[in-house]
Amino acid sequence: MAPRILLALLLALALPARADFYLVVHASNPQKALTHKAAVDLFMGRSRAFANGDFALIFDLPRDNPRRAAFYQALTGMSVAQVNSYWSRLMFSGQSVPPQALPDETAMLGILRRNPSALGWLSKEPSEPGLRTVLVIKEPTVK
């Protein structure tokens, strides 16, 4: 796990300044915006529905995505390891499952375009009209 953190750090340093993360839904989704807390609750398995009560399908990027660690760090303040530990405890009971991981951001874009109940995150703001960014999470200042 350590090399991965190292890699993430290297990537973070290599990439220009700081980047934001974009939580995106289908344009037809009535959810216009999300609070940070609601985003955490959805991504961390606490809630499975949008504000209007519609079922939410949460998608994640794969574990080897270079931005994933930074995303969870920005979203929950936890390292990937902590997040994994979190999920492993919940998965133990079989009641909760972590968001489904998609191969890459392209696949993510595809799912988001097709499924009005989907919620996912991207490292670049999508320019397509069929999608709506509900929350932009700023990556905290690199120390």
Binding site: V40, M78, R89, L90, F92, S93, Q95
Partner: protein
């Protein structure tokens, strides 16, 4: 000295036993106090430990519970709570949401939910936002178990403390017995076995040189030294005193003087054998006088002795006198007595007596010779005058009669001339005996005035008394009896008697004798062998 088999120190008097009791009492108190403190302390610690182990459990699962509460994963919560509730220290594990809803509640098998149970509470916060409270983890402690554990632990601790105290007491006791008590007991029995003044000394054991036991033994030896010296001095002094006493006793016992000591009541305290011999009492009889009045038992005139004692007391001098003793048998006994009074231990009377009976007898013999006629043992002329004077004086004083007879033997001169003086003396002796026999009363006077002249004075006899005539007849008859001399010859004498009586013929001795004498001559001139009264003047 205590015999070697003297009883050992036992019972409550034994220092060792008292020490042991004290040590064990102290140990018991110590054990009690220590056990009580240990119990309290142990219980408090065990309670705290029970609570803190539950706290540790709570800390261990807190994070997972918080996650379960966050994700509302009741299965997870139930699982974790169930895991917690398997611990015997826990009765109930509850997870309560922030709105008070119970998210999970598990009871330990066999446990019941109780009111008032001690609670371990943990606030649950969101793993992603510490400000967001998710509820509370409530753990009900199994107080009975916690307390039972605490009690067990406390008991163990208390027992350990008590055992420690007891062990310490035993060790202390054994050490004290070995180091102090038994050396003292050995010292005491060694001292008891010792003979005073024998020169024995106690040996200081190697391991006690210089310590208190050593000092004690050295002190005992010093005491033995000085004791022995004192004993030797005392023995020497006693020997000296005994020698001196023996000398004095020898003097006392063998003294030719009788020595006696009387108490204030005149009872004999001590007397030497000479006293016994002089007073004629055995030592046993003498000893019995220690309960009797010695003075009145021994001296014929006790008042004389008491006067001497008073005088000796008054003047502080030794009084001396010749005293007659109480008569035993015929003999009269005399002592020269010195009396002095001592004031030591009350008042005692010391007396010294010498037997002077012999000297007194000699004195009496001289006096007897002076007063008596050597041949006939009758009173002589000089003594007869004195006696007659006394008789006359007494008779006059009492108004009693007195008869005086002058006697002359007839024919004595012829016997003296023809047979010799020795025969004449024999005749005189026999006639004197016959006169004494005729007079009978020893208190009357029979005297030889010289040659063949005799004088008789009869007291309380007057001229008309029958006894006078009777005595005269007996004189006439008795003296006229023939006398057988030692040479075998037989001689006879006659007798002429002249009588004068007081008060009939006078009241003076010389007058009475003269008138009796005249009457005698009258008889002589008129045929002899008869008696005649004087003529009244």
């Amino acid at each position: 000295m205590t015999p070697p088999g003297a009883p050992r120190v036992r019972g409550a008097n034994s220092l060792q036993l008292r020490f042991m009791l004290l040590v064990f009492a102290s140990a018991a108190v110590l054990a009690l106090v220590a056990a009580t403190i240990a119990y309290q302390f142990g219980q408090a610690r065990a309670l705290a430990s029970g609570r803190s182990s539950v706290e540790a459990l709570a800390t261990a699962v807190e994070k997972t519970i918080a996650i379960g509460a966050y994700a509302r994963d009741e299965v997870l919560l139930q699982e974790v709570a169930g895991g917690l509730a398997r611990n015997e220290l826990v009765d109930v594990v509850e997870v309560v949401a922030a709105d008070g809803r119970a998210l999970a509640k598990v009871l330990r098998p066999g446990a019941a939910e109780r009111h008032g149970a001690t609670l371990v509470l943990r606030p649950l916060v969101s793993p992603f936002d510490a400000r967001e409270s998710l509820g509370q983890l409530r753990i009900h402690l199994n107080d009975a178990k916690v307390r039972a554990d605490a009690d067990r632990e406390a008991y163990t601790l208390a027992a350990a403390m008590a055992g420690q105290a007891a062990l310490l007491a035993v060790i202390l006791y054994l050490l004290a017995a070995r180091m102090v008590s038994s050396p003292i007991v050995r010292l005491a029995s060694a001292l008891r076995r010792m003979t005073p003044g024998s020169g024995e000394r106690l040996e200081i054991p190697q391991n006690h040189v210089g310590d208190e036991i050593g000092v004690l033994i050295a002190g005992a030896n010093t005491l033995l030294d000085s004791n022995e010296r004192a004993l030797q001095t005392e023995r020497r002094l006693r020997a000296e005193v005994e020698t001196m006493e023996a000398q004095y006793r020898q003097i006392f016992d063998s003294s030719s003087a009788g020595i006696f000591v009387l108490d204030e009541g005149g009872r004999l305290i001590n007397g030497n054998p000479t006293v016994s011999r002089v007073v004629g009492l055995s030592m046993a009889e003498l000893r019995r006088l220690s309960e009797d009045d010695f003075i009145s038992r021994v001296f014929s005139r006790p008042e004389q002795v008491r006067q001497m004692i008073d005088a000796a007391l008054a003047r502080g001098e030794t009084m001396t006198a010749d005293l007659e003793l109480v008569q035993l048998g015929d003999e009269r006994r005399w002592v020269h007595c010195l009396i002095s009074v001592q004031h030591q231990d009350g008042q005692t009377v010391e007396g010294v007596i010498y037997d002077i009976t012999e000297r007194k007898s000699d004195e009496n013999a001289v006096r007897h010779r002076a007063e008596h006629d050597a041949l006939t043992q009758l009173k002589n002329r000089a003594a007869s005058q004195a006696v007659l004077e006394r008789f006359v004086g007494e008779a006059r004083a009492r108004g009693a009669p007195l008869s005086v007879a002058c006697i002359d033997l007839d024919g004595f001169k012829q016997i003296n001339d023809s047979h010799g003086h020795a025969c004449g003396d024999e005749v005189l002796v026999r006639c004197a005996e016959r006169m004494r026999a005729a007079v009978r009363r020893s208190s009357d006077l029979v005297a030889r005035l010289g040659g063949d002249e005799f004088l008789i004075a009869l007291r309380d006899v007057g001229p008309t008394d029958a006894v006078l005539a009777q005595v005269m007849q007996e004189l006439l008859a008795g003296l006229s009896q023939p006398i057988r001399l030692s040479n075998g010859e037989v001689v006879s004498v006659g007798v002429s008697i002249g009588l004068a009586c007081q008060p009939t013929h006078g009241a003076e001795p010389q007058q009475l004798v003269r008138m009796a004498d005249e009457a005698l001559y009258h008889v002589k001139r008129n045929g002899k062998q008869g008696f005649a009264f004087a003529l009244a003047e």
